[in-house]
């Protein structure tokens, strides 16, 4: 293979779907046998999921914390572990041996985790299909919710993917107690959002509460979200997630 060929985790996810010849959303029970994998739900407290495998052999066990409350999060965790199972470099490059301490450099571990996350996102929410849906229905929380049901993925993961595949200038932000916890941006929006930054008091996200309004949509000043930015208003859609005490916000810049 030429050195220059860039095979991404997403390519492996698409190839695996093709190899397994499955329709989405698939049940892991239906593909586990073909992959040589078994799934075990365990009463762990220190990890959400883990892959145990024999080096060089297509067999393994995925263990998942049984107390993960949402089936969609469990699906993502399993897909993430399948990523470690399939992706090159995840077998020999680094590992946490069950009888040894962690011997990964943080940087390398982060890279592997990011690759497994990218793989899982593409396995569960293929960009080609999702972009068509977003293109047709428009980028909105309503579209994210319906895609989340369609693909049996969490609203957060689905919203991130919808923004990533969208052609519009957009961002998705998860905030807690008025502070930005995580965010994703579409390719066409080059702006900057501060991780850990405070959300402006005029943002709709700050106006939601349990017992009050839990979802709002409207135009707000950009400076409510982006420090120092002025100009045309942006469209904000925010939704309170009471079980996580967090707010999911979709921002569209026109």
């Amino acid at each position: 293979m030429p050195q220059s060929m860039d095979i991404s985790p997403e390519h492996f996810a698409r190839a695996l779907i093709e190899f397994l010849d499955v329709d989405l959303p698939f049940k892991f029970a239906d593909i586990a046998g073909d992959l040589g994998l078994r799934l075990r739900q365990v009463p762990s407290t220190g990890f959400d999921g883990a892959l145990l495998r024999v080096a060089g052999s297509p067999q393994g066990i995925i263990v998942v914390r049984e107390s993960i409350p949402e089936p969609a999060s469990k699906r993502f965790t399993i897909a993430h572990e399948i990523g470690h199972y399939v992706l090159p470099g995840h077998e020999t490059d680094c590992s946490v041996c069950t009888e040894r301490d962690v011997r990964l450099s943080r940087k390398n571990a982060d890279r592997l985790e990011q690759e497994a996350n990218k793989f899982a996102a593409e396995l569960l929410l293929p960009a080609a299909t999702l972009s068509t849906i977003v293109h047709e229905r428009g980028l909105s929380l309503k579209t994210c919710k319906s895609a989340s049901k369609l693909f049996q993925t969490s609203l957060t993961v689905t919203a991130i993917r919808c923004v990533e595949v969208s052609e519009r200038k957009a961002a998705f932000i998860e905030s807690k107690n008025g502070v930005v916890r995580s965010f994703a941006k579409s390719r066409s929006w080059k702006g900057h959002i501060d991780w850990g930054g405070e959300v402006g008091s005029g943002a709709l996200a700050r106006q939601l509460s349990v017992g009050g309004e839990t979802e709002k949509r409207g135009r707000v000043e950009p400076m409510e979200w982006i420090w120092g930015q002025t100009g045309a208003t942006l469209m904000e859609e925010s939704m309170l997630m009471p079980s996580y005490s967090s707010v999911l916000s979709l921002l569209i810049f026109d």
Binding site: P43, T45, A50, V54, H135
Partner: protein
């Protein structure tokens, strides 16, 4: 003197296809492939160009505020999928996936058998967590040993 076989013009052909198959947005994959073949195009070689054409058609309909027929979008998705399948990185990923799950792969592995663990959202492993992992690791190694013995 033999007479040349008359070939319909593009417009005539389009009309015939429309009468036989209905509007393009209602075509299924088989119909779409048939149309390509009638026009002398190998369906396996054409998806990229067609996907672009349909993408433009979708965009133009959206700009005019027209509703998109479901068939058109479905066809577009299928073509995109076909196009991606032809990408070299995809083909290389596919080759590796097939190789990974090929029968007899177990024969090629090294004798240095190690259990690898990758965790997601790993905090500090408790003694119980370690016990769980060891238990399944032992199960896996035993099975693997049995498999090798049988071979």
């Amino acid at each position: 003197m033999s007479k040349d076989v008359e070939r319909p013009s593009e417009q005539q052909l389009a009309n015939i296809l429309r009468i036989v198959l209905g509007p393009p947005e209602d075509w299924d994959e088989e119909d779409a492939d048939f149309v390509l073949e009638v026009n002398g195009i190998d369906p396996a070689e054409a998806p990229s160009r067609l996907a672009q054409l349909i993408q433009r058609e979708i965009e133009s309909r959206m700009q005019r505020g027209e509703e998109l027929p479901a068939g058109l979008s479905d066809w577009h998705s299928r073509l995109i999928k076909k196009t991606e399948m032809k990408d070299e990185p995809f083909l290389e990923a596919m080759r590796r996936i097939k190789e990974m799950f090929a029968a007899g792969r177990l024969l090629d592995i090294t004798p240095n058998r190690v259990i690898h663990v990758h965790g997601r959202r790993v905090k500090k492993l408790t003694e119980d967590d370690k016990k769980i992992l060891k238990e399944y690791a032992a199960e896996l190694l035993n099975e693997d040993k049995d498999t090798l013995d049988q071979r």
